[in-house]
Point group: C2
Chain length 194, copies 2
DNA sequence: CAAATCATGTCACGGTGTGACACGTTTGGT
DNA sequence: ACCAAACGTGTCACACCGTGACATGATTTG
């Protein structure tokens, strides 16, 4: 097996690239499936065979994030609790994601295009679900606790990302690790000062 | 002005009721605009004149929640910090919402129909945006802090609601205030124990 | 080389959401 | 009471979304 899978992978990349280009230029809602298909040179039907919607085509790689985060529970340092561990993993993951070229492009879109939120939110819901289920499955936390941990971790991720994106649009070059740690720090202060 | 506004209000209620009935019976995705229009006895076009989508028709009353929460910042007790204040307001609001008949119906839908999440999430995004903007506007918090507060408050609301909804489906009759306070308590433990 | 599998295009279809226009009703001023 | 403006509704038309079914040609497998 070679030609088919290679072609398929190339096509996925091509569709994703075309979608990102077009959305940056025209906006999310103004970009139709027809536009994407025309740019790649395929039929609309085929676009749907690769991605369930333009939103999916825009953010194909977030599953790895979920997997890494869910899988990270095994390596618990037990020094700062489950929440602290997960946030630390998030911080590193965040720094890693920033290096990926599409991350910055999508970040800018996130701020400038309100319609983008629905794309991001769907991924985050999946993360919360997977993470909380995993936490419950390990038997260390009960339902409410697991949900809270997953929600707070996701909230931190989102806040850091949004702050990063805002800086990006403003032309400020921020250090992702620093930014994420500031987020964690402020999060802690919320509970220890109040 | 009387007849028109009354008719309009009645129509809104009618559409909302029909939507809720149908979604409970058939599920969200299986319920079309045509179904709703037929049940109310109006054209599809008119349904869209009252609600932008069936999702909107399903949850029309959440704006008041946002208003109350955003407006509550003025009455700050300063004993437990902004976050504590907001969570307390949420607790009372939650108990109040539960008494509304639609709240329980929607809660059950939320657990049984995964497609419902997108309805809820949109409202929550609006809440986060309004709340964080308001917090920043008051000048007490900077951007990241305000975002975090809004996200955490929303996360607590969602966790409490989801727990309540699960109990509801399981036939467990839970006290909303108690449940929300357990959520707040566990939230605090996450940071003071870890 | 032949059969099975796969990717793609084409066509058709139901559903969503919006704009434009016509017609009847309500409203407010005279 | 009458009339014009504003409003609500239905109808029609349209673009877009997403899916199922089928035909066709390329790839893989034996």
């Amino acid at each position: 097996m070679g030609i088919r899978e290679e072609r398929r992978a190339r096509m996925r990349r091509e569709i994703q690239g075309a979608t990102l280009d077009l959305v940056e230029k025209q906006g999310l809602d103004a970009t139709t499936i027809g536009d994407i298909a025309a740019r790649v040179g395929i039929s609309e039907r085929t676009v749907f065979r690769y991605y369930a919607s333009k939103e999916h085509a825009l953010m194909p790689g977030q599953q790895s994030l979920i997997d890494t985060l869910v899988g990270s529970e095994s390596a618990h340092s037990t020094s700062s609790g489950i929440l602290g561990d997960l946030l630390a993993v998030c911080r590193d993951l965040f720094a890693q994601e920033v290096e990926q070229s599409d991350f910055r492009r999508i970040s800018r879109l996130m701020v400038q295009e309100p319609a983008m939120t629905r794309v991001v939110v769907r991924q985050e819901r999946k993360l919360v679900e997977a993470l909380s289920a995993s936490l419950v499955g390990r038997g260390q936390l009960e339902s409410i606790q697991a949900l809270l941990v997953a929600e707070v971790v996701t909230a931190a991720w989102r806040v850091a990302w949004q702050s990063f994106a805002r800086n990006e649009v403003d032309g400020v070059d921020s250090d992702p690790v620093e930014l994420f740690e500031k987020t964690i720090c402020e999060l802690g202060k919320l509970f220890h000062e109040g």
